[in-house]
Symmetry: C2
Subunit: 556 residues, 2 copies
């Protein structure tokens, strides 16, 4: 059996100019980065602010398990299949982060015969977007300390600077630092630290901005800290937003690549799915909707986190109305949700599938709460038995939901045609009546409670007095209308990663809240969230190298 | 009078594919980055390891003053003029650093009608080379702390880790930090800090490597610190070199852009001219020599630092033999060397020119010590009087040196034709007999003394016992054959920036020495050298923004 990288290298990609031309883009609107990647200049393409015309399909999943669900792979397979059956379809996906590639092997561009390429480029520097975000983020950090150094006219409280720095790397040594040591010339010493670039609010902003003007306005709204009187200080107060926007002027243009079957894919932005909303850029999604009849996009983690944020943050802010959702499930992952250990997944266990399918059922119910019709994609693994698949299909159908077995990993788009027919029919059927879960006007703590009760099925929320007081201060400062961005474990509906299946009776503990005023949400942190990963004992970096032919070894 | 940015925007650049085609490059060897920049794949171009065939011309200068000498501008003007008079000429220049653009206005792409473009792109992210260097450098840093965290099998002395981190930004708060605070999970706390990316040894390595294999070998030789037994620990010991090379595989390809007159320019690499050697990449210079009949290149600062390092480090390591050198001088800068204050430079002062020209004379003598013939370029300013210019010409001619008045700033290549004729004649005349200043076998301290006495005309060198002991330890460890890289003020032949003209009788104090084993030199630090700049009280960033037309304001 060929590996992902072997399949990727064996595929012959078409020139990106060919893909762009087929999309109807004029040559002047396509800025090539090498022969197989390009940025689209939306203004030159006449797409700046163009109204979406295509139908938007969200690919989401059950709660992830170590068994793997294949959400990106299914997104790619579905898009290829839709194109195969005659629908002009564009993918809109996140671009992966460089840093983690040097920790653990593996990229984020799909798998098997359902991949986007060029794989190595996309997983490494790609078109430089993340580097631009790193630069813009750290420029703001430098301007904060510079302002304090030269007199601190804004009276920033150095103990209350919340803006950290970022690097696209796994480096635990930078999680917490004391900066500005060494004397007067280096500024005022204080504690701070670095997050990985995907955790930057600038990343979330880039992914939620409608255009360059909106980007600059959002950057200006970033709250970098507080004065001694606890008043928020913004990037705009520091006159930083213009320069940050200049650094991001190229990064904001969506990136065009292709699937191994030569279908167009916009890969653009990649915010964390815990402290941010975990979706590709609004700009890429809207551009895709202007270019294609169907757009297949994806949200981070399981539907409890990813789909909820996609609906309540991204669609709400961008005015998008999804036409259908695909929930990816696997026999293996449902067996794990049914209590089977990873090592035992190779044996047939129909009862475990049935038992674990409570997880799938709840996700189906949840997505429907947003007024979006659901199709289940059963992502096939060769260890699945006919009986197990039959149970899964039966469970979905009992919910009034079509379930389609997909073999895109092994067969490419051809393996997902029945899913594609169902999705196209349902998305075009006009069944969707999208609405977010809660109103803007609801108090922040009530928004958190709404998600906890209606999506996580918690009994309630526990929050410390400090958290409640902080939420109230933000409401008084004018941030009460923002949606909430839930940061909790991806492995369970609850905040306890070991509670699989469909737990009830739990209470959601809100440990901390953070304001992302530029991105436009309030983050509720429920449990430990790591924003700067470390490298493992033997990092992948130790075996990554160029071989004699100049090909990259050890990355995947 | 138009500003540089107005001239740049009014010029209409040709598609980079046109420039590449005119150079004889096949389309498959040219990787476009947008429509006006490209990377050259030397292997695909059949240029990997190609023997230089063109003649190499170094542009250097007298000691810089706040009056400005226009070294880059003269390089561009000379290349345009050589092309005008029928010689196929390629520029090989450094690419500028992004960070400083947000401190003080101004780019590094020439001026007036002697510029390379696209100016904004080149001064901002360009093709991502510096970001790749930042990534590779910081990956090594993360691997060091990760190795220590997981057991420190190499017995690295955490007090003797010399590898810092880098960012392409002016941020004084990062000069000195305490890292890894916050508990067990974050590693072992220690002092460290960040330099600006151009100060990274990885930058120097990229600029001295012959090809990708040599790059990886050099990366492996980087000494990151010492064991408790004071034995050097290398990047290769940490198994980091392969992954670093993968991160640099795209950055190592030279960047093709053009002058405003449509002539080819390779902008590639940009190491510091103090703690590193301050020249564009060997790869770009060699590629230019394979593509052009003449190659115009540049070295940092004045000839005492820049030209000496160009000859003793770059040419020595790369086996390059320059055919001629141009020393750029201005009436204004010589008047400052003659004791006139900046505010008084507008008044004619023939005696001050004569008095200050001792600086020029010494640089002429010095460059000739390397066996390279010299031409003086008088870079014209409109405040220059005929009498002042006549003195400058007379001084040069008394040294047996042609001096040519150049008006490329105002007139483009047409203004530097007489210089071009002289340079072409002398470079083609076979007069040059290049040899470095000292032998590889000389002890390190003697190499420092040779440069101090023969180039700076110092009476001698003062070095602390610690410095002498360190040099001896490196000689014992096998680094004694390396050339030395002098880090001193650019404003004077001495280590005292206020000693203008041609000082004698001074002693060169060597405060500290550093080993750049991968780049292949030992740095001798004479005076205070800043490797992480700070932002000024009112940074340029505060006024940089995109205007209503999407053009960048405030950057230049």
């Amino acid at each position: 059996m060929l590996t992902d990288i072997q399949i990727s290298r064996a595929a012959s990609l078409q020139r990106i100019s060919v893909i762009a031309e087929r999309l109807g883009l004029e040559e002047a609107a396509v800025e090539p980065y090498g022969h197989y990647k390009a940025k689209i200049d939306l203004k030159a393409a006449g797409l700046d602010g163009a109204e979406p015309r295509g139908r938007l399909i969200l690919v989401t999943a059950i709660n992830p398990t170590p068994a793997g669900e294949g959400k990106t792979t299914t997104s790619v397979g579905l898009a290829d299949a839709l194109n195969r059956i005659g629908h002009k379809t564009v993918l809109a996906l996140r671009e992966p982060s460089l840093g983690p590639c040097f920790g653990t092997k593996g990229g984020a561009t799909g798998g098997g015969y359902a991949q986007v390429g060029p794989m190595e480029d996309i997983n490494l520097h790609f078109t430089g977007d993340f580097h631009a975000i790193t630069s813009a983020h750290n420029l703001l950090a430098a301007m904060i300390d510079n302002h304090i150094h030269w007199g601190n006219a804004l009276d920033i409280d150095v103990r209350r600077v919340v803006w950290r720095r970022v690097l696209d790397i796994n480096d635990r040594a930078l999680r917490q630092i004391v900066q500005s040591t060494g004397g007067v010339g280096n500024g005022f010493p204080r504690e701070s630290g670095f997050d990985i670039t995907v955790a930057s609010e600038v990343m979330a902003i880039l992914c939620l901005a409608r255009d360059l003007d909106d980007l600059e306005e959002r950057l200006g709204r970033i709250v970098i800290g507080y004065t001694r009187q606890r008043q928020p200080v913004t990037a705009s107060d520091l006159k930083a937003a213009g320069a940050m926007a200049v650094l991001l002027a190229q990064a904001i243009k969506p990136n065009l690549v292709q699937t191994l079957e030569g279908n167009p894919a916009l890969l653009h932005g990649g915010p964390f799915a815990n402290i941010a909303h975990g979706c590709n850029s609004v700009i890429a999604t809207r551009a895709a909707l202007a270019l294609g009849d169907f757009v297949v996009t994806e949200a981070g983690f399981g539907a409890d986190l990813g789909a909820e944020k996609f609906f309540d943050i991204k669609c709400r802010q961008a005015g998008l109305a999804p036409a259908a959702a695909v929930i990816v499930a696997t026999v293996r992952a449902l067996k794990m949700n049914g209590g089977i250990a990873k090592a035992e997944l190779g044996h047939e266990d129909v009862e475990a599938v049935r038992c674990g399918s409570v997880n799938l059922i709840r996700h189906i119910e949840n997505v429907r709460q947003f007024g979006v019709p659901v199709v289940v994609a059963i992502n096939h693994f060769h260890s699945d038995s006919e009986a197990e698949i039959a149970v899964l299909r039966e469970v979905a159908e009992a919910q009034g939901c079509e379930a389609h077995l997909c073999r895109h990993w092994a067969e490419g788009g051809a393996g997902a045609e029945s899913l594609a027919h169902a999705v196209a029919r349902i998305a075009a059927g006009g069944e969707a009546q999208f609405k977010p879960l809660y109103d803007d006007a609801l108090p922040l703590i009530d928004k958190i409670e709404t998600v906890a009760k209606r999506i996580y099925r918690a009994e309630g929320v526990s929050a410390t007095p400090a958290v409640l007081a902080q939420l109230q201060r933000w409401e008084e400062a004018g941030y009460g209308h923002l949606p909430v961005c839930m940061a909790k474990t991806q492995y369970s509906f609850s905040a306890d990663p070991t509670l699989l299946g469909a737990p009830t009776g739990h209470v959601l503990p809100v440990r901390e809240v953070r304001l992302s005023a530029g991105a436009g949400f309030v983050v509720a942190i429920c449990g430990e969230i790591m924003t700067m990963p470390g490298l493992p004992r033997i990092p992948a970096a130790e075996t990554i190298r160029l071989d004699a032919q100049g090909e990259i070894e050890g990355l995947f």
